[in-house]
Homo-oligomer: 403 residues x 2
């Protein structure tokens, strides 16, 4: 009955992101040559079902000939100042990081000078690339078979972290997907409306100040319209992540948990309440606000239990445990009409459901669990919602106060 803090499956990112080397073309070019690549088509990764469900990584060397031009990384200054809107847009190779446990590739990079001291970074580099619309790459990926014509072997399959890929691969796919999606939705500058370009191996987009297409005759500067975000550092240049609270709320007596049933849920399915953090709002406040808005229940103390990235498209789930105020436990769905039902479940009831679900869920996908007369289902163990419910069911609140 101890304090349960089992990490959700996408924590423990398996690669060293080496984020400080993303602006170093020599590093990126060298890493790409030794890399394995995850191909995406309309945000679906290339996976296979044989011998088991997993990402179908391709060595970069097998796909490099499919690119329209020899692909090179360039410095931010060089790329920005050479911008010509008539040029084809090069593919975005998202650098995912280096697997430091896999030394087979022989890849090594020695930091130069002050930038990275003289440390030698080693391991297998991984990248993600979008090949939507690239027919040659798609043909190679599917082994000559058209998409939809076969269900086994390599194919584009929609992916969510809870759908059974090995945790290590789910984390890499999630990172690649989130960054590619952000690039797709940020091809234009939200400050001035001009086109932007992708830099730093997919993790930065900037609004160039000049465009060679605007140079018609000698003396033209090629300047684009004035834009406020060209000076200084602005968050819109970097991928967006949306902090989201998800919370198991216990009653003041510590023997019940508040769960909700959304209109979109299947019948009998209940989960923790959740919602986006608001601008200028602490996580603790967001838990209290969302719980009240969705259920009418007023929450006092709140702690943050654990977190889980949820890259569909860009959430960071902040898993919390809170306790209702003694006079604030009445359920009222009349504020924000998001839930169809909210209910206090007895923790003994929930413990039995959890034990059955964890014992019987072979595929990690969750199961319908019959408990007495009522059939109730909660999220599978891979979801942080399950971990939060399990934590309170197993005594996180009660006995020695932990919050």
């Amino acid at each position: 009955m101890g304090n349960t803090r089992a990490p959700p499956p996408t924590t423990g990112f398996p690669l060293n992101r080496l984020s400080f080397l993303r602006d170093t073309p020599a590093f990126l070019s060298s890493a790409l040559a030794s890399s394995r690549v995850i191909l995406f088509n309309n945000l679906h990764p290339l996976t296979t079902t044989t011998p088991h469900y997993s990402v179908h990584f391709l060595p970069y060397t097998t796909i490099s000939h499919l690119l329209p031009n020899p692909f090179t990384f360039e410095s931010e200054d060089a790329y920005t100042s050479a911008y010509d809107s008539r040029d084809p847009i090069p593919p975005i190779f998202v650098f995912l990081g280096v697997d430091e446990k896999d030394l087979e590739s022989g890849f090594e990079y020695q930091g130069q000078g002050g930038k990275s001291g003289d440390t030698v970074y080693k391991g297998r580099p991984y990248f993600a690339v979008d090949v939507s619309g690239n027919e040659k790459a798609q043909e190679l990926a599917l082994g000559g078979v058209k998409e939809g014509e076969k269900t086994e072997g390599p194919n584009w399959r929609p992916q969510r972290v809870d759908m059974g890929l090995p945790a290590r691969e789910a984390a890499m796919v999630g990172f690649g997907r989130q960054v590619l999606h952000w690039n797709m939705n940020n091809r234009f500058c939200s400050s001035c409306g001009s086109s932007t370009i992708s830099l730093h191996a997919g993790t930065k987009r900037v609004c160039p100040g000049t465009d060679k297409a605007l140079i018609i005759e000698d003396g033209d500067t090629g300047n684009r319209i004035v834009c406020t975000v060209r000076k200084g550092v602005h968050n819109i240049a970097f991928p967006r992540t949306d902090p989201t609270v998800i919370m198991a709320i216990v009653n003041s007596a510590g023997d019940k948990v508040l769960l909700g049933h959304n209109k979109r849920f299947p019948k009998g399915f209940f989960s923790t309440l959740a919602g986006f953090c608001e601008p200028c709002e602490s996580v603790e406040d967001a838990v209290r606000r969302e719980t009240w808005e969705e259920s009418g229940v007023r929450v006092g103390r709140v702690i943050i239990h654990s977190t889980q990235p949820w890259p569909y498209p860009a959430s960071l789930m902040l898993g919390c445990i809170g306790q209702a105020l003694p006079d604030g436990e009445t359920i009222d769905l009349g504020h924000d009409p998001e839930l169809e039902e909210a209910r206090w479940f007895d923790l003994g009831h929930i413990r039995r459901i959890i034990e059955k679900a964890e014992g019987g869920a072979k595929d990690g996908g969750g199961q319908w669990v019959s408990d007495g007369e009522e059939v109730v289902r909660i999220p599978p163990p891979a979801a942080i919602a399950h971990q939060l419910i399990a934590a309170v069911a197993r005594g996180f609140v009660g006995g020695v106060p932990k919050i």
Copy 2:
């Protein structure tokens, strides 16, 4: 020496945001009429110094006549379908929420039907509005005196939450500032580059599908270019908040804390390490990655202690406490060259600094504290960095394990 969890100053948001009523024009119009408004000029709020430093709220009724047209809220559908790019852009009134403890205004709103049941929402409504470029409003705000000609009384003053405004007002200013800044930087759709319009009292922007300016002759549809974000719900329609980790790292023996000195810090100033969360990264992983990148120290267990919004422009500080691995305590600044110095400080030393700083800091702005031969300064109590340092100095890690 107990577990310190004093909330940073902007937690405990003082208003009920009633976020689910932001798309209800009847509610917003009625609330605005009874409201107090925070005026902003180039993101600086109107504050006064008499009788003490505070926001200079203006009743909406005193500024309504300064608006170019009678101002009305409209439904999303009505506003979007009537879009005409030739029209002047109306001011954005950001709805901050209702102070439910202040019933003096007499404002009441009865929820209608399923949307908000029959609950009656009461209290003083607050809004924020940007009057940059509105000469009449500026004249009224400054009482006829030109900006820069006086230093006392109402004026535009840059504001940060740690600069001494009452906590309640700092939270309201922070919310208004973050939303206005997001609107300023999102006047164009990042997916297609077309202009966007502000809805839901400043908290949503959409890319209209039609523009009446494109209707030249009978039969024209006024359709704008195709944009992928017009169908479904997309995060780019909503304000962005950047999750950021900030962490007090203790050594494996539990008697030292790791602090850093940034190039931009004044001499002798040390603080906790911090950095943005990456796409598809848990908070716990972000703490480990950032600590290693900036200092070379490798961290094992991590807990999240408390959080603080930091709306400059849009951060959510996730305050963490972590512990270094026994064989990972060597400092190496050679990876990411962000810090000029990182150092393990004895917790006894830090405790003396904290006691002096908390005892002597009259203005909450922090003080230089001499400790023996070395003069060291840490952030003031209003900053979450201070709370994290104080928590570990007072025994958060050690004795009974709390993480």
